[in-house]
Amino acid sequence: MSVSVREEDFDVGTETAALAADNPAVGAVASFVGYVRNANDGESIAAMTLEHYPGMTERSLQEIVDEAHRRWQLIAVRVVHRVGRLQPGDRIVFVGVAGAHRGEAFAACEFIMDYLKTRAPFWKREETPGGARWVDARETDDSAAARWDQDSAPG
C-alpha cells in the first residue's frame, strides 16, 4: 500500500530505501517530513492531537497519489500520516516520491503535500498554556494548492 494512516512513528531511512528498492530505474527520491513545532502563532505548544475521518482519510490520500501518477512519470509514491497525540519534535507526515529524474520527483512531492494540506481530512488541536485550541486553516495553504490547478503541465 502506498498510503498509511496510523499512530506509530515511521522510519525515514526505511521508507526512502523502500521507494528505490528492487527498481534500478530509480534515479531520484524526493521526500518531505513534517514535524510538530514547539510554537505556533506566538504561543508555545506542549502537544497536539491529530484527529481524522477514518475511511475518507485513506481514500483522499490515495486519490491525491493517483492524481500525482497521472500528472508525472513516477515509479513509486509513499505517504504516511500519523494521528493521535504528538509532541514537539515528533514526526507527523512522510511523503516520498521516486522517479527516474529529479524534476518530476520534486514536483510530485510538493504537489502531494499541497493537496494533502487542503484536501485530506485531518485536524490539529494544540495544547497551549492558555488551553487547547483547534488550529485554523492557513490561506497560504489554499494558494499553494491552487497553483497546481493552473499549472497542470508536468513541471
Binding site: M56, K117, P121
Partner: protein, 84 residues
C-alpha cells in the same frame, strides 16, 4: 430513507454531536439544503450556517453545496482541514 451525518473537530465540539441518523426531511435535496436544515435547529446548530467555513463530504469525498443527497448517504460536515 435515512442518511448518516458525521461532525468533526471544532464543529463537533460546537454542536456537541459527533454523529446522527436522520430521516431525509421533505425539501432537502442537496448538501446545501441539508446544511441549512441542520443550522435552523437553533442554539449551537447555528455553527453550521453557510459562510462559517464549513466544509462537507458526501460518501467520503469532498462535496459542493449543489451536490444531491440520497437515502443511504454518509454526509460529513467539518472545518477546513489542517493536517500535514
Amino acid at each position: 430513507m435515512t442518511i448518516r451525518i458525521l461532525y468533526f473537530a471544532a464543529l463537533r465540539d460546537a454542536l456537541g454531536c459527533a454523529e446522527e441518523s436522520l430521516n431525509l426531511p421533505a425539501g432537502v435535496a442537496t448538501i446545501a439544503d441539508l446544511q441549512a436544515f441542520l443550522a435552523s435547529r437553533g442554539e449551537g446548530w447555528s455553527a453550521l450556517r453557510p459562510g462559517r467555513s464549513v466544509r462537507a463530504a458526501r460518501n467520503q469525498r469532498m462535496a459542493q453545496g449543489g451536490e444531491p443527497v440520497m437515502p443511504g448517504d454518509e454526509v460529513a460536515f467539518f472545518p477546513p482541514v489542517t493536517g500535514g
